[in-house]
Every structure is written in C-alpha cells, then in structure tokens.
C-alpha cells in the first residue's frame, strides 16, 4: 500500500492561484458545498476553506442543507471602510531566514549608515548572534534593493547598502495623502497596494464609503497589473484561463491592448488582438489564470487604433457585428411635469444616443450600435414607459416583446 504524505496545512500561501478561485466562489456565490468543488481534491477544498474562514472570521456565515455545509463570505460593501478581501495579499509565505533578516538588517541600517554585504554579515553575527552565510545575506540585500527598500552605491569594487530615504509619512501633505490613499485603494487597479501604505499609518479612520463596490476585483489584481504592464511594453502574450460561461479551459496567443470596465455589471475585460484569427476580442479578466510575454509586437499601434475605432458604436463589450451597425429607435412615454428624472436618466445612461421630443410626453431615443442585443437589459429597466421599439435587428425586438409577455404571465394582473 502506498501512503502519500499529506502536506501540512499552513495559514500562509505561496501563490494566489488556488485561493483566488475559492475566495471568489465563496464571496460571489456562497451556496456551494464541499462536493460541488470537484475540480480539485476534497483536501484542497478543506485547506482553502479553513484558510479563508481564518482570514475573514468576521464575514463568514454558514448554511446547512441536505447537500451539506456551505460557506459564504458575506459583506455589505457599502458599509465597510476597507476591503476585507485585501487580506489575501497579506498572506504570503516566507522562510525563517526571510523574517529574521528583514528585521535585523533594517535594524542595523536604521543608523543611517552604509554597509557592504560582508560587513553586514559580520555585524549580524557579532551584534545579534545571528549567523548567516554571506551568500544568503547578499541575496536578501539584492532582493530588497530590487524592491526599493534599500539603495546601493558603488565604492570602488564594493557595493554599499543603505535604507532608502523615502517614507510614506515623510511625503508632502501627509494627512491629505492618507485620505487619498484610503480612497483610491478601494477603487483603482492594484488598490491593495494602497492598503499596504495605510497599514503603516496608526490611528487612521477612513471617512469614505463606497456604493456599488465590487470588492472581488482585488482577486484579479495580479493578472490586471501584469496585463497593464504588457500593454505598456507592447507585448505579444500567451494567455490561458477557464471560461466563466462554459467552464472550458482556453489558451491563446494574443496582444493585450486595453482594459474595459463595466461598472454596471461588475465585470472587467481585456481587449486583445489574436494573431492566428486576426481579430479583436474581449476576454473576462476573472477568467484568466496565467499570462506570459512571448515577444514584442511591432503592429501594436495599428491594433490599438483598430480597437479605438470600435468604441463610439459599442454599447458594451461585444465586438460581434463590428463590420456593420444596427439602428435602434425607442419611443418613450414620460410625464414631462413629474418625471424629468426619467429623461435625465436616458440622457445620462444612453451612451451616444439622441433623445428628441416628439410631442407632449412623447420622446424618441435613437442610437446606432454594433450589437443591439446588449441594450436589452437597459431597455427592460424602462418597463412601463416604452411605447414602441423599432430597429434593424428584428430578432432583438421580438425577444424583447416575448420577455414582456413572459413577465406578464409570471406576475399576472395583480390582486
């Protein structure tokens, strides 16, 4: 009988890959049980669940059904000061040498002196009774110089290390910078980085709250930042992932061009140019599991230009039908005296469309888009006000009216 060693459970993690998908599922869905997570072993589920329950203790709820126990990360994101899911970024594993050298080297260098690697190795031993070989100390010094914590100066053949002199609390306008950091850490790409700055601030209470706040975005920040880096470097990349819709794995070679954010649906996309197919497509960022640079892309600028040309007639992210356009005309009934707010909403949300007054309380909204199917959720939101819809895509209009009938059957005439 072969007995495999069971890896010891650890609170910290080496990479975000596994926990990212489990945390997303527990937060977005929160009703799946152990047996629903069949892609990995039950042991993996147990370890990730235990980890997440430990990290997010205050936000965990449980439910019990005939299928088993489900775990949910439950957060009203309009009431929190800080994104609790940032915790995943602060759980990286490390070695004993890592943590010891972190505190001892910074302690030595905090005297504002400059030291060579051999001098530091000697000082660790003589002043702290901490014996390390020179290679190990040198490795840590190089790592911290790359990260910006240390500065290095060459003195002849000797490299002299010192602590960098840039501290968050010594930047200009420190209080206002704290406010800006607290704000932007919740809403921008890589926001967790802002939270690491705020971790160094004592006794700060944020005055900001956020509505329509998609906190799960932080789980994709590593992929997002890498995409933005490759966009800047104009790289051809190997991209792999799992489709959110079908669950099928995919891989492709493509040039990432720009990031698209839908603040209504909570999804984020990357527009890519795929070289074998010679077409533009939008990939969900939360479906991407890995991205690596392959080569420089000489035609990046022309692909980017092509992507920008689509923007004026895009309603959402669909690039279907980008070689043609569809016209949509909607006649609304709006009480001009009492419902000006409805007209304001149409103007505010109506993208590149035009709103024209036809008669008292009768308005025409007209727009030209690539894919009018993307408009149907928005049109449904004006239930009870639509007199007529006309357009070049008959199928979309027919589906719209079929949905109204289905809704009428569902809710009936009333009691």
């Amino acid at each position: 009988m072969v007995v495999r060693a069971v890896s010891e459970y650890r609170e910290t993690i080496k990479s975000l890959d596994k926990v990212r998908s489990y945390m997303r599922d527990l937060y977005i869905y929160g009703f799946r049980t152990r047996r629903d997570f069949s892609a990995k072993s039950a042991r993996t589920y147990d370890n990730e669940r235990r980890r997440i329950e430990n990290w997010l203790r205050d936000y965990i709820t449980w439910d019990y059904s005939s299928k088993g126990k489900s775990v949910c990360i439950s957060v009203d994101s309009s009431k929190i000061e800080r994104n609790p899911l940032f915790v995943v970024w602060k759980s990286k594993s490390f070695t004993d040498n890592d943590i010891t050298l972190h505190f001892l080297l910074s302690d030595i260098l905090s005297d504002c002196g400059e030291y060579s690697a051999p001098a530091l190795t000697e000082k660790l031993s003589s002043d702290y009774d901490a014996v390390f070989d020179l290679q190990t100390v040198r490795g840590k010094l190089r790592e911290y110089e790359r990260e910006g914590i240390l500065s290095v100066r060459k003195d002849g053949k000797t490299l002299l290390y010192s602590l960098s002199d840039c501290y968050f609390d010594s930047l200009p306008y420190p209080e206002r910078l704290q406010n800006a950091c607290a704000f932007f850490s919740e809403i921008t790409a890589g926001g967790y980085i802002g939270s690491t700055l705020m971790d160094s601030v004592r006794k700060y209470t944020s005055v900001f709250r956020f509505k329509h706040h998609f906190i799960a975005h932080t789980l994709d920040d590593e992929i997002l930042l890498r995409l933005l880096s490759f966009i800047r470097e104009k790289k051809l990349c190997a991209i792999s992932g799992t489709s959110r819709r079908t669950g099928q794995d995919f891989s492709m070679t493509a040039v990432p061009l720009r990031i698209l954010v839908s603040v209504q649906s909570g999804r984020r996309y990357v527009t890519v140019y795929t070289s074998p197919r010679n077409r533009l497509t939008n990939l969900r960022i939360d479906s991407i599991t890995d991205i690596k640079p392959v080569a420089d892309c000489a035609d990046f600028d022309s692909y980017e230009q092509a992507a920008s040309e689509h923007t004026p007639r895009s309603w959402g992210v669909s690039l279907d039908g980008a070689h043609r356009s569809e016209q949509v005309f909607v006649r609304f009934y709006v009480d001009e005296e009492k419902e000006q707010y409805v007209l304001q909403r149409i103007r505010r949300e109506g993208r590149s469309g035009e709103l024209t007054r036809l008669d008292k309380n009768i308005y025409l909204y007209s727009v030209e888009v690539y894919d009018s199917h993307e408009m149907t959720p928005w049109l449904r939101s004006f239930m009870g006000r639509i007199l007529e819809i006309e357009g070049t895509n008959r199928q979309v209009i027919d589906w719209f009216w079929q949905d109204i009938k289905a809704l009428h059957d569902m809710y009936g005439e009333g009691e």
Partner: protein, 323 residues
Amino acid sequence: MEYFSEIYGEYYRAVAAVLSCALKAPLTEKDIYNIIRQNAFEESALYIAPKLISGEWNLLRQENGLFYPVTKREARIPMTHLQKAWLLSVLEDKRCSAFFDESEKDEIRDSLDLTPLYDNDKIAVVDACADGDSYSDSEYCSNFRTILNAIRTKEILRILYTGGKGTKVWGSFLPCRLEYSNRDDKMRLHAVKLHSGKAVFASTINLGRIEKVIPSGEFCEKEIDIDKAAKKRSHTETAVIELTDQRNALERFMVQFASYDKHTRHDGDTDKYICSVSYNSSDETELLIRLLSFGPVIRVLSPDSLVTEMRRRINRQFELMGR
C-alpha cells in the same frame, strides 16, 4: 517588483508590533500571544509565537521569564518601488484633482521619482454615466477639501445646494462621511442637518450640486451617529428573488449583485435558486430597475412593495404593447 510579497504580510506586521511593544517594556508569553492576535489572524499566534519565544527567529531574547527585543530601534521600512509607482498612477487619476492641485501633485511626484505603475488611459469604463462629477472644476475641488477637513475636525458647515427636485436648500450641516459610487462617478456627502444646534435628520447631498460651502467656525462637541440618524428615514429591507439559470442568469445576477449582502440557496426540487438580498429601503427604486433589467429569468417574491411595483410596471408595459 513583486506584486505578491511577504514584506506586506500580516505576519511581518504582527512581529513588528511585538518588537515595538518589547522596546517599550519587556513582554510575557501571554503578551506576545495577545499582540499577535490583535495584529494578525486568529491562528497566526499558534505559528508565530513559538518561533519568537523559542528564539528560532532570533528576534527576542529571554531573561527571567520576560522577553526583550534583539533589535535596538523601532522597525521603519521605506516605501517600496511598487508602492511609489502605484501612488504615481493615482496622481494621474482625474479624481485625484479633488485632493491636490497640480503644483501639489508635482511636489509629491518629485519626492517619488519613478514611473507610474500603469497608464490610466489604458483603462476605459464602457458604461459610465455621462454626468459624473467634474473633478477639474476648481469650485468642486475646493468644496470637497473643505468638507473633508470639516469631517475630521467636526466643524459645522453652512451649505447651499440644489435638491433633487430643483429647489435650492440652505442649512447647517455636520458632515460625517463621503460616499463614492463608481457606477455614476459621483461623490455624495452624508451629513446631519442641524437646527439650533440639534440634529434634525440625516441628509445625502450630491457634491456636484453644492453651490456654496462655508465653514461656520463652530464645532460639534458631542458624538453624532449618522447611521442611527439615517435609520429614522430608511431601514434595511430584504428582497427574496427566485432565479432560473437560463441565459447565464445565475452568473450575471451573482456578479452584478455581489456588492449587496446576500444569501443564496439552491432548491434541488425546482432547480431554481432563491436569493435574499439586503438593501436600504431608500434605494428600492434603484433595486427595482436593476431587477427589471434581468427580465423573466428572475421572479421577485418579496417584499410586497417591490412585487407590487414590478407588477404595476409590467402591466402598464403590457397595456402599451397592446396599443
């Protein structure tokens, strides 16, 4: 630059806290466990404390049952390149003009001396509202900073703004919080309206509609709970929604409503999902519109107010169809 690094981790912060406390006064084992629990995760103490106490990490030394730091000074770690680069990207965000003017941003940039982490112009919002706040408007920015400062100092402000129905409103307010929505790109002030120094009710004011903000020079001495004041005008309600997983509805609904506090279960008999969504009653119309946008793949079961309004609009639409 490492995006994911132990340098930013809870463990390093917890150990820094232990060393900081030990520099002020020697610690007992119990002290060490307590400090770690306050600064890291619940189970962290089980891992960190033995390593510190045994001397394995060589950061504490023991003497007569008490623990002293091996380090001589408070740990103070400079900013990393990643942190600086992120801050530089933030300075390029148009909304940052509300916090700093251009010369102030330049001063901060000069201190950081690096390239921004990413280019903001490579990120586009596809469905932003057209009437987002005007962050480049100097009066808007001035009002924003005055309000931000007043929240911190608890100074009462005299505010003139245009209300939802176009009427001008003037009054004394104690500003409490600023709420931002990515969805409509607007900043809103949550404040308590005062009359003769007493809290009257909670108010939500769009910063874009504020015409004047005047610091009064008066400060509020007592603590005012804005959430308690807000409860007088609205309350938490729960909508129960039945969802059929057609047209990828489950994934769309769950992602779109992820920002709400919700609870979902699967009904094995009907193969439908029952989702309870908590919301503020003052946001019921906004919720209604979002639910309508899903069409017949969802059915609202409660509360009655929501179901009644859904039914009214659907019936009205069905009537209009008949014409």
